[in-house]
Symmetry: C2
Subunit: 460 residues, 2 copies
């Protein structure tokens, strides 16, 4: 890590805002540690806790941030010779303190520095939870919280929900790199190669920018598997390639974009028809994103637009609103319209629906909409994805209980005419703003009109 | 996973051999589960336990292998609709059983199927250890073992130490892909780019072969940091690039190769001098690898050859054997000559020195040689790395206690004349065989003579 390049100001401001809200509640936030792959000495690349990154900005492995009720400090591992030899010199704690703008003490002093009744947020890693349990003298597991923790958690949600200037700058950086990756992916696609050739081009474009993927890339001719992490299929001329790839900045902020492009460089007429239904729904939903709008209503809007388009194509029959109300549309659009975006690609999903759902709102239990990860009213500074899609999923279409819902309103024969479409999704990252249209599409540089995609693919 | 391509025979044979040795001892082996990155729904790519892979060959997330004292079976998650939608259809347990050649039962039946006093190997993941603890009714943590577990652990070590034909075939596959990655890296290197451009080319070459990295790549102009996982430095014409990158096959087997090449495509005269010292030591050590040879003696041989070369260059003074015996050479070669190679890049390092050190041999405590990960007598079927290196490490050269050892035998002024060398390592994967030279270099296709590297870099 290069401390000279580190700008502490946004983090000092966040910690100050946080301290004000906490009103004297002491709290402890672990950065976490690298997670073993096949053995401890061969870990996955270290990814610090998003809560820690939000307040301190540096991925300090094994460190803890402590608010003792009055001030913030960090407890970190002092540099040692062995670690300098193997992993490079660590900064002296005094240098770290200067960079962070808060006291930094050796980790060995943490236990005796903890005030009673210190709140915490359970790590997503069991080993870090064990350290938290030991320090705080109570059982802590991933996902659990006690009464003392709730004010801390709610403060974290409250601040991270609405992005400040520094956060928005990071999201723009992620969007830019994501755009470069998608451009590289479009150029790298050609019949006869395998999916992983496109993945390599895209992840390579991120790597050469010093970034990584915010989540496991989806690069697949089988877009009907929603989180498909296999890359071994050959790409044939008639296939669509569904590509859901997003950058993570060195600061930890995520981009999350899906495009669906034709392997041959040209959409077939059936692919065009379905693509345009998804694109129209996506644009209408993005246009609807503005302060005060309930996110669930955007989901319903997208579902209605998709239903409308499918009725026009003869694949569904009936009134679009009813097709949504009866859940028929979810047979072909079996997921939510999107989610919060920030330091996590599904921002704050480690806190469960406490972050994504406004208090008093609960996640519906019905198929399709039960996958909706967000139901808050939009506010300026929130970043969300808008990602409608249409999929032909055998597991759904062969499920009699689900199909029964359709009561004949799904024309299977007509659907079969579109057999060169298995999955199409179009996803952008949208920042809600106060003025103008009420939103800004952070990822607008990535082509999504058919002609623009075909043109980008032709510039090899 | 494509069950049609799966060949069960080697795993059936290993399980049979294992059962024979276990003599009725029941044992339980977890495959493990995907590890959360920033939250549970955003995990790192799943990497199954090497012990499980060794016996069953398939990365069955969340599954357990059980030897009940008479026969092997697997307990796995039955397919469900939600998982089919998000992650693709899982095979039916009956299909899995057919592919594996052993009974497969639902995971829910595992608890009631466990014989008393079942042995296990603690997972490297705390969450999997929790599942093991609950199933076996005793506290299990990463790295711990009770008396009942030792026969299982020793059997595992005994079998995994000497590779069978299927294992050797996998190691050859890893070596081939590693060769392709190094070729791509040499071609991608040029002044003005950053280290991560070379990393992207190399990891991309692995990705397009359906492989991943066996460990975090090292691609650095700062080779003096032994496990340097930063990639942001610009590559300048006078720099050497130290590249330690190895493939992991879909079956989980590792390659592990280091080459050090000049960013400009041409070594300087000072770089040539040091390179040739390392190369001569590496070749002599590889030549010495044969059945019956103690690995620690290979380490000493390498150290002596390095000392010899540095004496010839005037960097060290005195008798090479004494420079090794007194530890002076370790000021510039501060690590072990290599390690076991197999399903883990440091094979079975999760079992500690129990795997790497012959019973009765202990790891020395002195600087330098304390990093030697292996001290067994070589046997046919063992695969090891041979990886001498020379490094100018500020943390060592500025340590008065370490420098005191040299008693004037390190000529700092002469060393300063080689200031365009910070770290050079040359590493191959070597299989010990019964006949001929007593070994086979699995990674011999990767250029390591200076002229061959310069030629490979010129073919852009």
């Amino acid at each position: 890590m290069d401390l000279d390049d580190f700008v502490a100001k946004p983090f000092l401001e966040r910690r100050a805002r946080f301290a004000q809200r906490l009103a004297g509640l002491p709290c402890l936030l672990p950065a976490g540690s690298a997670r073993a792959r096949n053995y401890k000495g061969n870990p996955f690349p270290f990814r610090a806790s998003s809560h820690f990154l939000y307040l301190f900005g540096l991925p300090l492995e094994g460190a803890f941030g402590l608010f003792d009720g009055r001030q913030w400090s960090v407890f970190a591992h002092p540099p040692d010779a062995d670690s300098a030899l193997w992993h490079g010199p660590l900064p002296a704690l005094a240098d770290l303190a200067r960079a962070l703008g808060c006291p930094v003490q050796p980790i060995a002093d943490l236990a005796r520095s903890l005030p009673p009744k210190t709140a915490t947020i359970a790590s997503t890693a069991h080993e870090t939870c064990e350290a938290q349990s030991e320090l705080l003298g109570r059982a802590i597991k991933p996902g659990t919280a006690e009464a003392v923790d709730h004010p801390l958690i709610d403060t974290m949600i409250d601040l991270r929900l609405r992005h400040d200037g520094a956060a928005i700058a990071e999201l723009r950086l992620a969007a830019e790199a994501t755009a470069a990756a998608h451009a590289a992916g479009m150029r790298a696609t050609r019949p006869g190669l395998r999916e992983d050739a496109v993945r390599a081009a895209m992840e390579g474009a991120l790597m050469t920018r010093g970034m990584t993927v915010a989540y496991s890339s989806i690069v697949t001719v089988h877009g009907e598997v929603l989180h498909n992490n296999h890359y071994h299929h050959p790409m044939r001329a008639g296939d669509l390639l569904l590509v859901d790839v997003g950058a993570e900045t060195p600061g930890g902020w995520a981009g999350d974009v899906t495009r669906t492009w034709p392997v041959s460089g040209q959409y077939s007429s059936t692919q065009r028809d379905i693509y345009d239904v998804v694109l129209a729904a996506q644009k209408a939903t993005v246009a609807g994103a503005k302060p005060g709008v309930r996110y669930r209503d955007l989901h319903t809007l997208a579902a209605s637009k998709l239903a409308e388009g499918l009725v026009a194509l003869g694949i569904l029959r009936g009134d679009p609103q009813e097709l949504v109300a009866d859940g028929v549309i979810y047979l072909l659009f079996p997921h939510g319209i999107g989610h919060l975006l920030g330091l996590d690609v599904h921002d704050m999903e480690d806190l469960g629906d406490r972050a994504g759902y406004l208090p008093g709102r609960a996640r519906p239990g019905e198929f399709g909409i039960r996958y909706l990860r967000l139901d808050r009213d939009l506010e300026p500074g929130m970043a969300v994805t808008i990602e409608p899609g249409l999929y032909v999923v055998p597991a759904i279409l062969e499920d009699p209980a689900l199909i029964e819902k359709a009561k004949g309103r799904l024309d299977r024969q007509r659907l079969a005419a579109f057999s060169d479409v298995r999955g199409i999704r179009i996803e952008d990252d949208v920042l809600v703003v106060a003025g103008g249209d009420g939103h800004e599409v952070l990822t607008k540089a990535i082509p999504k009109e058919r002609a623009a995609i075909e043109a980008a693919m032709a510039t090899v």
